[in-house]
Symmetry: C2
Subunit: 410 residues, 2 copies
């Protein structure tokens, strides 16, 4: 698994890539709200851009507007609010369009180059007034050191900021990829999950940018689940300024692969942080499936395990109830021999094999409890039925999850 071996981390988040500035303010999108809730990211030049959207049939109005604006493969700025999803409102499109107009006016850009997103409660009217009243302050907050302000402004039930940037080289030119993302509940893979905004100064055309985004999303954001609920407002978008000065990427050459690997490092780690910050979570779960007959089966098994409420509750209690892992493997899609399955539980505290050839093996419950008491747990499953692999990320199920979601709207 690629983590960061080859990619030096750098400061600046979404502003690490040349040409980008960001900002965020409190606009009281939800009346009385005191945290930042309106964010902007902008580039000094027009970027190639691509996005993937939720597959939920109910789509937030901003999704529809953004799709239209990205049809030409270019964008120059993002405006996004938290506190209201602008979804299932009869004037949603009007509001999303007006947000773009206000942002374009403030930045002296074309409306068609603005990406718009909203996150928060579904089905509550969103007034344009908080945006209108705060657009000047928002534009004034734009700075190359303010990625964190934008990151804060898109958070809802998130407890951790999800922001990072890396650097790498293309043709001897230093390139950057940085991103911010939000997401804690209503998280389940379906082509694009959560809100994530990625920027890069690599020079890459729109078609290759979309291809890279799709490839990496399938292995990162689409392999995360907190609660099995697919949001109506999910969006992952990327803008490339080209200011790094590399030769433009226009086909699947080795430079494209370098770029994809860098993008994977950023998106995988943002996705992983989303799972760690799952609503109410005390533990990050990482399910690694090895030696599956196909990648599809490997993914299905990994997601099936990560989504099991019973297993998630057992992990909360650091209980090595591996029968629940076998049960979840058993209802995953795909053909494989359940009698070949091996399961290892692993963490910084050690590793314990709990199941071999589909049946239990003797293990020390004390040892397993120690392993599962850590805050990052790996569940390593070997299907012994092929050569394909997958990883999925999730979290434990806790009292706090119930509390957050029993009280979210009020």
């Amino acid at each position: 698994m690629i983590e960061f071996e080859n990619y030096p981390l750098c400061q600046g988040g979404v502003c690490a890539a040349k040409g980008f500035v960001a900002g965020g303010v409190n606009a009281e999108i939800k009346p009385g709200n005191k945290k930042r809730d309106l964010a902007v990211i902008a580039c000094e030049k027009k970027c190639t851009a691509a996005a993937l959207y939720t597959q939920n049939k109910v789509k937030g109005a901003p999704i529809t507007v953004t799709k239209e604006h990205l049809a030409d493969g270019y964008a120059q700025a993002v405006i996004v609010n938290s506190g209201n999803a602008n979804t299932c409102n009869d004037n949603g499109i009007e509001i999303a369009t007006e947000m773009c107009r206000l942002c374009a006016e403030g930045l002296k850009l074309s409306e068609n180059d603005i990406i718009v997103a909203s996150t928060g409660v579904i089905g509550q009217k969103l007034s344009i007034d908080p945006v209108k009243n705060n657009i000047s302050a928002l534009i004034s907050s734009l700075d190359s050191k303010s990625s964190t302000l934008a990151c804060e402004a898109i958070m809802t039930t998130d407890t951790r900021k999800k922001e990072l940037a890396i650097s790498f080289e293309l043709d001897g030119k230093v390139c950057h990829i940085g991103g911010i993302s939000k997401g804690s509940g209503m998280i389940n893979p379906n082509m694009a999950t959560m809100l994530a905004f990625i920027t890069t100064d690599a020079d890459i055309n729109s078609a290759m940018l979309e291809k890279a985004l799709r490839t990496v999303t399938a292995k990162t954001y689409n392999m995360v689940s907190v609660d099995g609920d697919t949001s109506t407002n999910d969006m992952v978008c990327i803008m490339a300024s080209g200011l790094a000065g590399n030769d433009p990427i226009t086909c699947e050459d080795e430079h494209y692969l370098t770029f994809v690997n860098g993008l994977y490092a950023v998106m995988m780690n943002l996705a992983r942080e989303t799972a760690r910050d799952g609503e109410g979570a005390t533990k990050l779960l990482e399910c690694v499936v090895n030696n599956a007959p196909t990648e599809k089966v490997a993914k299905s098994v990994a997601l099936s395990v990560i989504n099991s409420s019973l297993l998630k509750a057992a992990m909360f209690a650091a209980d090595a109830n591996w029968g629940r892992i076998l049960c979840a493997i058993g209802y995953a899609e795909g053909d494989f021999d359940i009698n070949g399955v091996e399961v290892i539980l692993s963490s910084r505290a050690g590793s314990v094999k709990v199941c071999e050839k589909g049946a239990g093996v003797e293990f020390s419950e004390d040892e397993a409890f120690k392993v599962l008491s850590e805050d990052e747990i790996k569940i390593i499953i070997d299907l012994h039925s092929g050569n394909d692999n997958a990883i999925a990320w999730g979290c434990d199920l806790t009292y706090e999850y119930v509390k957050i979601n029993a009280e979210y709207r009020s």
Copy 2:
């Protein structure tokens, strides 16, 4: 919806049908356990019989043995333990076979006429000793008034007994259908869910009995979900003694339809009670989907809503967060126009329309809170896209669910 209008309830549970006796004892299947955990149901004559099983690839050993024994369409007794699932054990088949042998010996029947089932923790060795040591006591407990003992003995995390019987007429002959079932966690539809044992004295051949069971299971047990986890040991079985004396049912005539309706009344209500007794539940949720393009779409929407952790947590808090219902409808399978959707929340305390044409409508939050504070909530969804309907049952998600499943094994 058929509830019991046409079916007088009667006493006796699984012994209401002529010819059946039942019993249950404490055998300490799990060392130190003090509740009844070994049950038996037997008939004075050989019955036509049918069963449906879990579709989980991991299957309890008793499933394999029962399938073999029911291959000829006949059975005469059931033996079942709680406290251990006899699943993922290398000697599981041996143990399940020996349970049948001991039961057959005690009842002077053929081993091939015994149905065996187990429920409890997966992946722990099951010793035959508790069964061997208590088989005489178990057989001695058999009585036509002891359905409740068997019902108690199959419970695990269940807090309510699920037992009922009805009567109806075929050719002027009084027939009965009765059943007991267990299930509270690891409940998710997949052809057969939970353990349920149904008996009848109607005369019906094995083929029609299986057909009836399959038809009714699709609309009852397969439309229940507590937590989205499909168990490894699910089984629904039915035995028909024929002692009511009706003309044998051998084809899909009107008598078959009468039988199917009676079976629906029993199984629907047992299934509904399972949802009500979902682990940690404080509320029964019933999702009714009307005017869908196909029954498949109606079922998918109903199950999608019933399975949403976010909606389940909102229902726990009596919070009319209908955006979560729209979100769940949106990721259901099938083609329909989301802009036609209407949602009504309903209970004994009244009804509140919260959504029309896919968007929110004005409603009183106080009124909605009153409606949702009851312990039986109906979520009525009109898709306005066809004529097909479905109902699914579930429950709210509570702190207690997490507690039960964080502590189940220990």
